[in-house]
Structures are given as C-alpha cells and as structure tokens.
Amino acid sequence: MSVVALSDSVADELRSILGSDYVLTNKSSLYNRARVPAPFPVHRWNEHIADIVVLPETAEQVSEIVKLANTHKIPVVPRAGGTGLADGAVPMTGGILVDIKRMNKILDIDLVDRTVTVQPGINMLKLNEELRRYGVIYPDDPASYPCSLVGGRIGTGGWSLIGARYGHTRDLVISMQVCLPTGELIEVGDGGGRKIRKSSTGFQLKQLFMGHQGSLGITTEATLELVSRPEAEFAAFFGYPDYETAYSSTGALAKSGLASLAGVVLFDEWKVDYLRRDDEAYIPQPPELRCVVAVAAYGSLAETKPASQVIMAIGKETGGNYLGDEVSQGDWAARHDRYATPLHGRTPEGQVVPMSWHCEDAAITYSALPMVREEWHAIAKRYIDDYGVFDDWGMFAYTNGAHKPWADYLVEIDIGIWEQRLDDTVWDAWVQCKREITEVSLKYGGSITACHGSTREGDAEFVPREMGGGFDVMKKIKRVLDPNNIMNPGKNRLDEAYED
C-alpha cells in the first residue's frame, strides 16, 4: 500500500496532463498492474498495488508526470509489458504506476544507416512484422519475444537467445531518450550521435541506463539496430548418454569459431526428464538419452550452409547423436515462446498441479557449470522434500557473451511453485532457497543474474557483495540522479543510498 497517500489534487493534476481517460484509479486497474510472471506473494497482493495508474502517450507527458512526482515526493513505478522475471515492474510502496504501453509507435526507419527508432511500448515481434517488407530485422530474441516490450528489455538489460551472434538488448540499442528521475529528458548513446555505435566522447552513459530495473529513469524513445534478414537458419539438437559428454560437446561447439553461430544450449539430465513429461519431441526418446545440446546458426546462405556442416561434424565427433530435423526444427522454433506453462508442475506423488515458474538465472563461467549444476539441484531437492509444493524442472546453460559464444553462460534452474499453496511460511522458504542458490553463483565467481535482474528478495541482499566497491558507486549515482528516491524505490537495496 501507499506510503504517501495520493491526494485528489495530485490526481487532478495528472488528469490535466493526460486527460481523464488515461488516469485510472479503479481497483481493477491497480490490481492488474501488480505482478509480473515471476512468483508473486498472492497472499499479500494488496501490499503491491500502486495508488494510481497513468497511461502516457508521449515523452513530454512522462516528463511532466515525473516532475509532478518529485514535487510531491510520490514514488513512480514504470511498467512496460509486465513480463519480466524479477520484480522491476512490481510496486513496492504504492505511488504512480506509469504504464507505457500506449507508446508503441515506430517513429523512423532508416534503411541506409540501418536504424529504427521506436517508442518503448512496442513489442519486438510486432516491430519485426512491420520491418519484414524491407528485408531487415531487429534480432532481440528472448523467451518472451512475442510479448515483452522494448522499454522493458532496456529496463531489465535483457538477454537474447541469439545474443552470441547478434548481441543482447544493450548491444542492439544504439541510443535512447531517457526521462531522468527528476523529469528532464536527455539523450544517451555511445557519445551523442543518435546513430553512432562507437564513440569515445564523454562517459559511456548508455550502459548506465540499461538494466537499472526502472530505478534510474524511464526510456521514452530508443534507436535500434537493423540487421539484414537472415537468408538461412540452421538448428541442430544432439542427444548424449551423460552430462560430461554433453558438457564437453557444448564447449567444443561454442569454441568452434563460426561467425554465424547464434547460440549453444545445454539441457541437463533433470531438464530432459522434465521434458519427457509432456513434450512430444522428448517422450519417444530412448532412456539412454540423458542430456541434449541445441545449436543454432543464422546468416547468409554462403556462411550458414558450411557452418551447418561444421556444426554437425563437431556434434558427432564429440559424442552427440543427432535427434533429427523434426525435433531440431520444431523445438528451436518453440524457443521464442519458452515461458514455462503451469501444468508442467507435479506434486511429489506425481499429480499434475499448476505451478508458477521461477527461473533462477545466473551468469557462470564454463569451468564452473558442472559444480553449479550439482549444488543447485541438491538445494532444490531439499526444499522439494521439506515442503512438497516445489518442483525441479531442470537446468539450461546458454551461451551468454554478446557476440562471444566461447565465453560465459546464462545458467537457469527452473523451479515450479504451487502458487495456490503460498503462505508466509512457504514464501519465506522459497526466498531462502533463492538465497542458497545465489550463494553458489557467487562462490564460483559468477553473477547473481545474467538477465532477469536482482531486484527481489533472495537476490537483492547479495548485490553489495557481488558489486563490491561498485555498490557504493551505484548508491552515489542513484542519490545524485534521484534525490527524492521516487524512481521505483525499494529495488536492488538502493534505498540504502538515502541512509545518512
């Protein structure tokens, strides 16, 4: 609930900025802008609603809203698609929820300098449907590709399935217009040119405004990369009799040096077991198949065709059994909407129950993958055995470095939570489970989160430890840019910046 009660006069001021159709105070509007897909304390829903919802259409309106919030010291919570996997868009202390979905226009398409400028409320799939006629594509491809919005991708510092080839959100955004926490609209990029990709002018401010989870401002416009539409796509899925073979095959594929390599994904034994529950590609696979590695390449035919042959050779040489075109192509195409469906959930007795999906992500080096896998599964097992409302849906390791398939990995363990059984005890247990998982990531020199964000209980406690001296720098920057702590307070422990 709100820390600062919103007066009628503030609501009226908002109406004069936006028109009363776009200022919402009814309960349904508030309750439906509380959660994101990440597990939600539904038993404490009313602690996470805003006081008022506004639906701006222009950057100028966003600026006026934020200035008003500063004047009255009211929290602002920016919300794009509400499809994130940390709690960036979840109100923690009420306030004004700024829902930017109406800001979904394409402002400029430049085929000569290869940029597209958009408002933050546009979805990448819808954008690419419009771009197709020009033979170009904006290749930011998360598991939420059909539903996440450009503004949210920037706010969360999103990861793309094909980032090893094309880069992730922060590499694909060339420049942006940002509304600062004090309401000024500024442009940030690599230097100052909207369409310049590499500059040494001034500080590199663009990256500061990526992945801040809405705590340093609101993106109101973004200029994005346009790449040539791929002539060819190649995907191959290999099966392995054990983890060690799959793991070394993953390394070999990732280090193959192929320029068109888009991603390598390692599915561990628990993941394959989970897929056998209900996935038509995995149900008929023989029991000897314990792990899977998926590889994809995109680009011109001239490069991708020979690359596909190298991939097949490496896969086989390193002990992989090719699972066939139908599985490879079908499963790869399904990766663009790979948020887990609730009925994957099973009670310890094997009954189907709808579970909320918690995808605990971390960035881990190749050398640490096997140990992280063992330790995370051991943690999950304890909580499953103790509480009976969790489920282990296995782990993935995905190539993580932008344009660098040989580098580190996004590692995820998918935990199911029977949300209808959530109460304070179960919630606290789950937060504790997250803490244990996070400790393992840090133990092996990894990062708490590769892409979802560290805003939540279970992650946020560790941000100072991971960032070290960097956390002080974060607090200073936050304090300077947001003197009244109105921009998405309560996230990432940044409230500590204001403890004098």
């Binding site: 796509e233 190649f234 209900d278 008929p284 065709k305 399904a334 094997g350 009954q351 709808p354």
Partner: protein, 82 residues
C-alpha cells in the same frame, strides 16, 4: 466427413504408450488421466484437440519464416553427401 457431429467428437479410450503418457488420437500424446486428479481434465472434443495440434505446427512454421528465408536441413545435407 467435415461436418460437426457431437457423437463423433468423443475421444477414444486411452492406451498407454510411455511412462505417464497415453494416446487416444493417432500421434497425439496425452497425460495419463490418473495424474489429473487435482486439476481435472476438460471436456475437449476431438476436433478441438486436432485444432490445437494443427495450430502448433502452423505456428512453428510461421516462426521459422518470421526469422529467416529458409531453414537448412541436416538430414537433406547428409542424404546429398551420400
């Protein structure tokens, strides 16, 4: 037969095909109904199941086409190598 008749919309009885998995309609895997006691299954006419299966494959084909002009086949390349 392309019309709708309620009498032909009842799915056949399930037969086990894998651990926890059954089949009623050709090539359509389903959960063993004994595992759906907490969340009960819905009445799903045959035509509805088939619509979902067809839509899934059409959607996946659409996704391939959305991302690239062509999809390379490892099997075809192997065949042409032989």
């Amino acid at each position: 037969m392309f019309g709708f008749r309620l009498q032909t919309e009842q799915p056949p009885e399930p037969r086990p095909v894998a651990d926890g998995v059954v089949m009623r309609l050709d090539d359509v895997y389903e959960i063993d109904p004994s595992k759906m006691q907490i969340v009960r299954q819905q009445n799903m006419p045959v035509s509805d199941s088939l619509r979902i299966v067809d839509s899934r494959w059409e959607h996946l084909a659409w996704m391939h086409d959305h991302w690239a002009d062509s999809v390379l086949s490892a099997e075809e390349q192997e065949d042409s190598d032989e």
